[in-house]
Symmetry: C2
Subunit: 118 residues, 2 copies
Amino acid sequence: MARAATTTDAFNAVAEPRRRAILDVLARGERPVNDLVGLLGIAQPQVSKHLRVLREVGAVDVREEGRQRLYRLNGQALKPIHDWVKDYERTWSDRFDELDIVLEELKDKEDEDGGTDR
Amino acid sequence: MARAATTTDAFNAVAEPRRRAILDVLARGERPVNDLVGLLGIAQPQVSKHLRVLREVGAVDVREEGRQRLYRLNGQALKPIHDWVKDYERTWSDRFDELDIVLEELKDKEDEDGGTDR
DNA sequence: TTGACATATGTCGATATGGGTATATGATGC
DNA sequence: GCATCATATACCCATATCGACATATGTCAA
């Protein structure tokens, strides 16, 4: 098996920095493809392809208007990423230091009397 | 050019679900490789490879102890992901609905009088 | 209808991936 | 030294990627 398709996940889709850049632009409002080409300095075909990936994972929606296609952010699709990563915030935030100590102690106690595995 | 290496980024490293699973286990404490093999049901060589990727992006640290290598989470490395994605929280959180409306109105106003592009 | 514009799709090439399996390295205990 | 345990690395394969470029589709205007 090879690496998972970029369209598998929001995680995979967003691993590409240019796709994050596209989302960052769209976060400030709906845009036609050509705006993204100009703003980001990426060739039009690649922008279209990146948008396709983002569409497939649900991170953007399209709306047709004349010959343009207006892309709009759908942040919902990024929620799984936020949900996953937010639990790690404690590891770099001082605010959680004391809580960490308490939890460490609890864990050690569990390991002592409960420990079936390991 | 091909897809960016998994070791380029925390974003790329974490796109692989098994690597997230490994981090989730390590989040609860230091573990030797074999624990991960048992807990996650992944073959030992793949676990070692995933750990290598996580090491290269700084998401885990190793400590040698006898014939074991104890891996420990370094959540710091995930901060860029959190920093990026947290700005999108507003798009799905009700708490920001009112703020969104205000900002939308502000943006519309800007577009009306400022609009140089488009 | 023709031509210009906006966007999407196809093809090619180089590359890194992840799983599987085999094997190397390295520490421990006898 | 030798067998064993713990981990890392090497190799093979099938596959999807991204960039570049060419081209198809579709809309508007004259």
